[in-house]
Every structure is written in structure tokens, then in C-alpha cells.
């Protein structure tokens, strides 16, 4: 059954879209990630215009992040002070990101920019996850690792504008979460992702936040940033396809349910290695596409 997507202006098979949303939802349930970094490239692979895929990806990530945020909010796993600064950075970053998006689109380099950012991020994240889970697997069986410091101190902790974050038990520069929020905001606008897969490791390793509040706080930030990206993309580029986002979400909700149930059957390291392999595969596919000669070196651009 085909459905005409009003903003993407093409017909797609509903079941393909539901399956795509369901597949990504399954992975996000399995691994506890947002999955936006898989939704956008997959939408582009099936022929959705990249500009629409990115903006709609952000809209779908917003919807998919709501339930997680509510759950963490209830359990009190959100550092609102840290989250507020991350949001402030995220808003600045996403405003700049959407502006950059429109500029790149005008210059005809948007597809290239999307591909390159995906190759860089997926290409570095995938191998990192595989290596990390392999190490964890090898460590198994060996005795205690000894005492680990709460967090490492480096030059980042010498930045000015220090603030106290009682919930995270930290005294760090506000520039750190602000800058991180900013970077994630830009990526959210250009890649259509929530950015949890960058924010979570950065919060743990760069800022030194306790793992318990990291997920809730990052989801809190993702809600505001993806909402801002959705709004700005809709007003400046008219690229948000609400119908597409809702179909993807319907698939994702069901997929996530199965993913969560299935996750108890797999070990943590295996899960992470598997996700790393999937991420790497998508990154390699995008990389190869950059080098493959196009069907026709000439193309018709979106011309307003």
C-alpha cells in the first residue's frame, strides 16, 4: 500500500516505512539508543530527499524521546541545572545548524555535508564500540579492577565560569556543558539526530557526570533541541513531513517494545559489539557512495 508523503512529495510503501521505523525502534529498544543516526540514512537510502529525511528525523527523534524522558524524570535521574545549560547551548547550536543547513542547501553541498558528517561520526563510533566491548569481554573473569577515580581531571576543568552542580556532584565550568550542547545542536540540525550517542560518552568522559543521571539529562536536552530543530526546519526550510514522522513513530513504538524484551537475552558486550557493527556498516555504505561514480553527474536540484 503506497502513501503519498505531502512534504517529501513522493509515494512510499507504508509497510516499508513501518518496517524501517520498526527496525530502528527494535534496535533502540535493544540498545537503549535513540536511533536517529540510523533513521536519517535509511530514509535517504529508500529515496526520501535528504533535506526532508534530516528534518523529519529530528521530528521523529523528538517523539521517540518523550517516553524515556518521562520515565527518567519520575525517577529523579535528571540534573536540571546541567540540563538547562546543555539546552541553552543546544538552542544556540541548533539555530546556527539550521542556518548552516539552509546555506549548504543553497550552495548544493547539503548532501555532501550530511554524508561526510555521518561517515566521520559513524566511522569513529562503530569501531570504538566494537573495540570497547571486545576489551570488556576479555576483562571478564579477571579479578577486581581496583579503585577508579570518580573522574579524570584535564585542561577542560580549568576553564572559567565554574559552577556547582549538586545533583551530579560536580564543580565544573559552565562552558563545558554549554559547548557540548552547542555541538550536539549543530549535529542535530544537520544530521537529524538527537545526538545522545555523542552526548552520553562526552558527559561521562569529558564532564565526568555520574552515569545514573547521564541518560535522563541527555534525553532532557534532546527533547528541547529536537523540538527547536523541528520548529526551525519547518519555518525556514519547509522540510518537516509530519505524516512520515508519525508513520515512522508508529513502527518505532512497536519495534522498541520487542527490542526491550529481546535485550534481556543478550549480554551487554555482545549487544554493544553488534550495535557497533551496524553503525560501522551504515558508515561504510555512505562512504562508498561518496566515491562511487553517480548514475548521472548532472542532477536536478530543489529550486525554489
Amino acid at each position: 500500500m503506497d502513501i503519498y508523503l505531502p512534504i517529501a512529495e513522493i509515494s512510499e510503501n507504508v509497510f516499508v516505512l513501518l518496517l524501517l521505523g520498526g527496525g530502528v525502534g527494535f534496535l533502540s529498544g535493544l540498545f537503549g539508543v535513540g536511533g536517529g543516526f540510523l533513521t536519517t540514512p535509511l530514509l535517504i537510502f529508500i529515496g526520501i530527499p535528504p533535506a526532508v529525511a534530516v528534518a523529519t528525523g529530528a521530528n521523529q527523534t523528538l517523539a521517540a524521546s518523550v517516553s524515556g524522558t518521562i520515565a527518567h524524570w519520575r525517577r529523579g535521574n535528571v540534573d536540571f541545572k546541567m540540563g538547562g545549560i546543555l539546552v541553552a547551548g543546544g538552542l544556540v547550536g541548533s539555530v546556527f545548524g539550521v542556518w548552516l543547513f539552509a546555506l549548504l542547501r543553497k550552495l548544493g553541498q547539503l548532501e555532501l555535508a550530511i554524508s561526510v558528517t555521518y561517515v566521520l561520526l559513524l566511522g569513529s563510533l562503530g569501531p570504538l564500540m566494537i573495540v570497547e566491548s571486545w576489551r570488556a569481554w576479555r576483562r571478564q573473569g579477571r579479578a577486581g579492577l581496583g579503585l577508579r577515580k570518580l573522574h579524570q581531571h584535564n585542561w577542560l576543568h580549568g576553564l572559567p565560569l565554574k559552577m556547582r552542580f549538586p545533583k551530579s556532584r560536580l564543580y565544573v565550568s559552565a562552558l563545558l556543558p554549554f559547548g557540548l550542547g552547542c555541538v550536539v545542536g549543530i549535529l542535530s540540525a544537520i544530521m537529524g539526530v538527537g545526538g545522545g550517542f555523542i552526548m552520553v560518552p562526552a558527559m561521562i568522559y569529558l564532564i565526568g557526570m555520574p552515569t545514573l543521571v547521564v541518560i535522563g539529562t541527555s534525553l532532557f536536552q534532546i527533547i528541547f533541541v529536537t523540538a527547536n530543530v523541528t520548529f526551525l526546519q519547518a519555518t525556514q526550510n519547509q522540510t518537516v513531513d509530519v505524516l512520515l514522522a508519525l508513520i515512522l513513530l508508529a513502527g518505532a513504538v512497536i519495534g522498541a517494545e520487542f527490542g526491550t524484551r529481546f535485550s534481556s537475552r543478550l549480554r551487554g558486550e555482545q549487544l554493544r559489539a553488534l550495535l557497533g557493527a551496524i553503525i560501522l556498516a551504515v558508515g561504510v555504505k555512505i562512504l562508498v557512495d561518496l566515491f562511487l561514480p553517480p548514475l548521472d553527474v548532472y542532477s536536478l536540484a530543489f529550486a525554489p
Binding site: 503506497d2 502513501i3 503519498y4 508523503l5 505531502p6 512534504i7 512529495e9 513522493i10 509515494s11 521530528n59 521523529q60 523528538l62 517523539a63 521517540a64 524521546s65 518523550v66 517516553s67 518521562i70 520515565a71 548544493g108 553541498q109 555532501l112 523540538a227 523541528t230 520548529f231 526551525l232 526546519q233 519547518a234 519555518t235 525556514q236 519547509q238 518537516v240 509530519v242 505524516l243 514522522a245 508519525l246 513513530l249 513504538v253 522498541a256 517494545e257 561518496l290 566515491f291 562511487l292 561514480p293 553517480p294 548521472d296 553527474v297 548532472y298 542532477s299 536536478l300 536540484a301 530543489f302 529550486a303
Partner: protein, 258 residues
């Protein structure tokens, strides 16, 4: 499976009925060398739109060849060219064209060049090679060969998207007088006012022509979403955010954890 068949049957019946009506009014039909009509004068792009066929049928008086041109509204197109830099293919040159038909389909009962001379075709813009669109900035300093390669690329890309079609042999005669052709419109069809021009050609000259309008418009839910997104972008953006929040919240309620 049966839907297209009943649709085709309906088209045939309309055609036959129209032709019978023509035959009944023998005298006025004789006065006109060419009569033609479309099975639909309105194409509705609905949420279920996957492209459609429109039947064009008619009758001619005496012998001759028939050419059918379906043309969409003119618009602007931007053509981009990729080049290879360090192995990576990226856009490095672009050329905007104006006066480009958004849709153009020409069908005939024989190859166009056997029916009409290039000069005659050029005058009426019959055939993809006769389309008169030009670069937006003529004094670009670009040489004619470069412009021509971009022009050809535009036509090639449109053909690949089924938006430009040249199909000799698509006009079929049923007997000596009746003819019909089927024009395919893909799901990426641009909206606007189209015209169907039918030409009757006898010994290298157009002896009769008829023009029929065809409207392509988005209707229903999809159209409302599209218009809303472009006319009220602020409200659409806010609604997209609220809808996502509500949908996410509803999803969380449906699969509530214990």
C-alpha cells in the same frame, strides 16, 4: 489488480460513447477534421496517489498522422554537475534555466521526423529537442557547448523521472478514423494547469489542432498538510512539535511498564 482494468474499461466506454455521439452528429463532425478529448480533466494528487494514466481519444476526418503533446506549466529548474575531487564526487557547477516545462509528453503514431520537418516541429515545440527553455543568465560567459550539455542533462534527468516522455507509436489507430493514446503521470507530478494539444498532420503540415486543458492539483489531507506547511510555517512547526510530544506520550501510555 481489478481496479486498473475496470478503470481502463471505463475509459474505453467513455471513448466509445463519445465516438458514437460524434457519429450520430455526422454533419458537424465532418466539418471538423479533428476531435479529441481526455478521459479526465482533473488529476487529484491524494494521499493514496501513486501516479495515474489518462486516456486521450479522438477521431480524425480523412487520413493523416496524429501527434499528442501534454505539457505542464513552465517553471525554473536548477541543474547541478558533479566533479571528482580526491576521489569524492561533489557538485561544483550549476546552471539555472527558466521557462522549463515541468512536464512534457509527446506521443504520435509514427516517428516524429517522418511526420513533420524539424522546422515545423520547432515552430510548435513538438519533440523534446525543440523545447525552447534557456539559461536564466544568458550572459553568463558560459560557452554554447556547456549550456547545451546542461540543457541535455536537464532533459535526461526529467526523462528518468518520467516527467519528459517522447513515445512514437503510442498513438494507436482503431480503424482509419479513431485513435487513442495513454499518458502516464508519475507520483512526482508537479501541480498546475496542463494542456493537451492534439495535432492532425497531413503531408508534412499541421492541418488541424485542438487544445484541451487538464488541471493537476493536490487534494485532501495531503494537500492541506502541504498548504499549511507553506502558508503558515510557524503554526506548522509548532504543530509538528506538539504532535510529536503527544504521539510520544501516547506511545508511552500504550506500553506502560509495570
Amino acid at each position: 489488480m481489478t481496479a486498473p482494468m475496470t478503470r481502463a474499461l471505463r475509459h474505453m466506454l467513455i471513448g466509445v460513447a463519445a465516438l458514437l455521439a460524434l457519429a450520430a452528429h455526422g454533419a458537424p463532425a465532418r466539418a471538423q477534421a479533428l476531435v479529441a478529448d481526455l478521459s479526465d480533466h482533473f488529476i487529484a494528487i491524494t494521499t493514496g496517489f501513486i501516479g495515474t494514466d489518462v486516456l486521450l481519444f479522438g477521431a480524425i476526418e480523412g487520413d493523416g498522422d496524429v501527434i499528442v503533446v501534454l505539457r505542464g506549466p513552465n517553471g525554473r529548474e536548477l541543474v547541478r554537475r558533479k566533479s571528482r575531487y580526491a576521489g569524492v564526487w561533489l557538485n561544483d557547477k550549476e546552471m539555472p534555466f527558466t521557462g522549463v516545462p515541468t512536464f512534457y509528453s509527446v506521443s504520435s503514431n509514427r516517428p516524429l521526423n517522418e511526420i513533420l520537418s524539424p522546422g515545423a516541429r520547432m515552430r510548435q515545440e513538438i519533440g523534446l529537442d525543440t523545447l525552447r527553455f534557456a539559461p536564466e543568465k544568458p550572459a553568463d560567459g558560459a560557452d554554447a557547448a556547456l549550456v547545451e550539455s546542461f540543457r541535455q542533462a536537464l532533459i535526461r534527468n526529467k526523462q528518468r523521472a518520467d516527467l519528459y516522455v517522447e513515445d512514437p507509436g503510442k498513438v494507436v489507430f482503431l480503424g482509419a478514423r479513431l485513435f487513442r493514446t495513454r499518458v502516464y503521470f508519475p507520483s512526482t507530478l508537479p501541480t498546475g494547469s496542463y494542456t493537451a494539444d492534439v495535432y492532425l498532420v497531413r503531408s508534412g503540415a499541421v492541418v488541424s489542432a485542438q487544445s484541451t486543458p487538464l488541471i493537476v492539483s493536490k487534494v485532501g489531507f495531503g494537500a492541506e498538510v502541504y498548504d499549511f506547511a507553506y502558508d503558515w510555517p510557524m503554526a506548522y512547526g509548532a504543530l509538528a512539535v506538539i504532535l510529536a510530544l503527544l504521539a510520544g506520550w501516547a506511545a508511552a501510555l500504550v506500553f506502560r511498564r509495570t
